[in-house]
């Protein structure tokens, strides 16, 4: 009798402690935040491009219809000139003091454009980054190699989540989606710390990328 009661209590406790977020909760969160950001004049015009990229993904998910006021591009453009990213020559995204800012977008570009020669290097970098996140969990990606603003730190974490979701699709490798799902869940609990609109849009993009990958890869 006592064991049964205790068993039930433990089951209830496990249900309460279960922090996994379901697809409909993600969708509700994204749509609610997107509606706020999409009001006329709500955000700075410099974010138009980023919001358009978010909208592309939301349309891909059929969460929104065709938008009237923004041009839809096929794929997000790479926004960086990658010269100067020679820290990767050392074969790691982590410097002495922590994560190299910019590595999320750079690895995404590298993974998309990897030829036979750089494939192995890209594989190794991605594996190391995934291991770091999986082993250190919430504590991962908190220290940076160079001085980086709080906003930039959040943007970098979101970029790495985007990298994992996109690499999962490119490589048909569920492990990367698995890591992205966990990262986005941790960050969802801290979303209030992402104080700028720019951060908010990037995080919504990370969630949308995750859902695109889930839709593509979690189908029997």
């Amino acid at each position: 009798m006592f064991r049964n009661l205790l068993g039930e209590a433990l089951e209830r406790l496990a249900a309460r402690l279960d922090r996994s977020v379901k697809e409909d909760e993600i969708r509700a969160y994204v749509m609610e935040r997107y509606a706020r950001l999409n009001r006329p004049g709500a955000v700075d015009a410099s974010l138009d491009r980023e919001i358009t990229e978010l909208e592309n993904r939301l349309m891909q998910l059929n969460w929104i219809g065709q938008t009237a006021n923004r041009t839809i591009s096929e794929q997000p453009q790479n926004r960086h000139d990658w010269q100067g990213y020679n820290w990767l020559a050392e074969g790691n995204c982590f410097g002495k003091n922590g994560l190299e800012p910019g590595c999320g977008q750079f690895l995404d570009w590298m993974d998309e454009n990897a030829d036979t020669g750089s494939r192995r290097e890209t594989d190794e970098l991605l594996e190391k980054l995934m291991r770091q996140v999986e082993v250190k969990r919430e504590k991962a990606l908190r220290k940076f190699a160079r001085e980086t603003s709080t906003e930039q730190q959040w943007m970098e974490r979101c970029d790495i989540s985007i990298l994992f979701s996109r690499s999962a699709r490119r490589r048909k490798d569920l492990r990367f989606l698995n890591t992205a799902l966990k990262m986005n869940e941790w960050y969802l609990r801290e979303a209030r710390k992402m104080r700028t609109d720019h951060c908010a849009v990037r995080f919504l993009t990370a969630l949308a990328e995750q859902e695109i990958s889930a839709r593509e890869l979690l189908i029997c």
Partner: protein
Amino acid sequence: MLKVALLAPIHNSLYARLTLDALARMEDVEVSAIVVRNHLNWQRFKSEFARDGARLIGKIRQKYLLGDRRFSASNHDNLGKLAQERQLSFNSLKEFARQKEIAYRVVGDLNEPRCEALLRETAPDAVVFTGGGLLRGNILKIPKIGVLNCHTGILPQYRGMDVVEWTAAEGKAATVGFGATLHLMDTGVDSGPILLRKTINPQPGEDFNIIRERLEVVMVELMLAGIRKLRDGELQPQPQTAADGRQYYVMHPRVKQFAARMLELQLNTHK
């Protein structure tokens, strides 16, 4: 005479008890020490909760509340049935150690100096690892042959966590299969030289819990076969290279739901 020490995650681990019981009966094998991780450890709870989240509560329920009774309603092969067949007569490793006068120690962490000291003192040829976290070099280098671990997956392909589920999720039930691998531990994750492997053939209707319970029986068989063959000089460890496999991590519940659907599909297709 092959001298072995046993490392266990908890004093009442059925896997450890069944292995120990058979080792103690094995000819030309001497159990020289038993080291058990203390289960009442806040640091351990915190680190396992961070890794497993809510499912740790389920594990606690299984280990502490149900214990050996968790197998009572099952019909398939499992450790509970094996314990009945073998007429396992003791409920804790401590009790067995006292009966057989084997050196016994409870430690907070298997890497700590008290564990190291006991192993150095008893100088085992091999250490049988039945769980309790990662081992560091200070422990791994003590036994002459090495530390034996049985991994619930096929190595070298599937290293790390939740590999039964990952095998199903990646649609490899028919090609790689479900099984267990006995290997020598190194400082990496399931990356040490392979000693033995055995696969099982799951039937339609079996879920991950059933497959895992069946694999626990295979783990006991492999561990005992490994010790027997090492004693007789019949085993040649096969080294792995990093590129031979991939490392897997704790599976997110959404991926796990997908893995369960994939398992059902694969078992029904290959019946």
